[in-house]
């Protein structure tokens, strides 16, 4: 397919395009929402690498917990964090790692 056959001038809606891509280095934000969250405290502030973009964009589950069944759709990212990064003095193998899905608004580029 040549570039000439792709439509041009497409404008994506806000939040439609993922901000991060596989391989990006990111940090899980540190903040303390009252009432409901789905980002466990043990990963906050930790550095991670994006393994995959979860498609399609989906609801913010913090908002969904209060009954919002529509709107504010962004991407979740499956990120990889070594267990040695999560736990000081981790006693298992230095290869051991975590995978967890994090909503876009909880990640910062580093």
């Amino acid at each position: 397919m040549t570039n000439a056959s792709r439509p041009t001038g497409i404008v994506k809606a806000l939040g439609e395009a993922p901000i991060f891509a596989a391989g990006d280095r990111v940090k899980v934000s540190i903040r303390f929402p009252v009432g409901h969250y789905r980002v466990p405290q043990y990963v906050r502030g930790k550095s991670a690498i994006v393994e995959a973009v979860m498609e399609p964009a989906s609801l913010d589950n913090e908002e969904e917990g209060f009954g919002r069944n529509a709107g504010s759709k962004r991407h979740y990212y499956r990120v990889a964090i070594p267990l040695t990064e999560l736990w000081p003095g981790y006693a298992g193998s230095s290869r051991d790692s975590l995978r967890i899905e994090i909503f876009e608004t909880w990640l910062e580029r580093i």
């Binding site: 979860m54 589950n61 979740y76 995978r99």
Partner: protein, 217 residues
């Protein structure tokens, strides 16, 4: 009684016989359900149907998916690319909005699944989770000391193999695709499925070739 999620031990109430009057929570469940039906928000038939759906989901479904992936490399590739679509190919429908990622165990990576925040579990393909998956010891320890957790199940993974723990917090659910045990080359797909246990698809144990006199399933 279902298991409790708390730190301290206490005795469980005895299992109630069928002719015992319903307890407080059963009365509440009945009352809520009947009111919602009376008000037209749900239909009684929907509850009955969903019970049938739940009863039809059990680890044998996941075992079929694993066995097919073992014998059919093209299916395996499609399954790893999109776990839900792979299951749907075998007629395992998903009655909710969850997605499925199938995690392949290899010589280099051993996968383990957990939901530290609650009890997210691939119910459409495995049925309901075991109580221990929903209780504090597994949920708290799987992400910080997976090797010790696996050891409690008799599973020892060499140090040069990565243990990869997946913590479900959003819409994605996980299913571990265990390694096919050695010495199973002559088994049929159905016989292979018979080797695959629920715990192997959670990742706490490997699949054993029981036919060869290996360890317990």
């Amino acid at each position: 009684m279902s298991a409790h999620d708390h730190d301290h031990d206490h005795d469980h109430a005895p299992i109630q016989a069928g002719d015992q009057p319903p307890g407080y929570y059963e009365i509440m469940e009945t009352a809520v359900r009947e009111l919602l039906v009376e008000k037209g928000m749900i239909k009684a038939g929907e509850i009955r149907r969903q019970i049938e759906v739940l009863d039809s989901r059990n680890p044998a479904l996941g075992a079929k998916v694993v066995a097919r992936a073992w014998v059919d490399p093209d299916f395996r590739a499609r399954l790893l690319a999109n776990g839900r679509a792979g299951c749907e190919e075998l007629g395992i429908s998903f009655y909710d909005d969850t997605q499925l990622i199938v995690l392949e165990n290899t010589d280099k990576v051993h996968n383990l699944i957990v939901c530290t925040l609650c009890s997210c579990y691939p119910r459409p393909v495995l049925g309901l989770p075991p109580d221990r998956y929903k209780l504090k010891p597994y949920r708290a320890r799987a992400v910080i000391e997976p090797r010790a957790v696996l050891a409690e199940f008799g599973t020892h993974i060499p140090e040069d193999v990565e243990i990869r723990v997946s913590d479900s917090t959003a819409m994605v659910r996980y299913l571990v695709l265990p390694k096919r045990p050695a010495g199973t080359e002559t088994l049929s797909e159905e016989e292979l499925a018979g080797l695959v246990t629920r715990d192997a698809m959670i990742g706490v144990v490997p699949v054993e070739n029981v036919a060869a006199g290996g360890g317990a399933a």
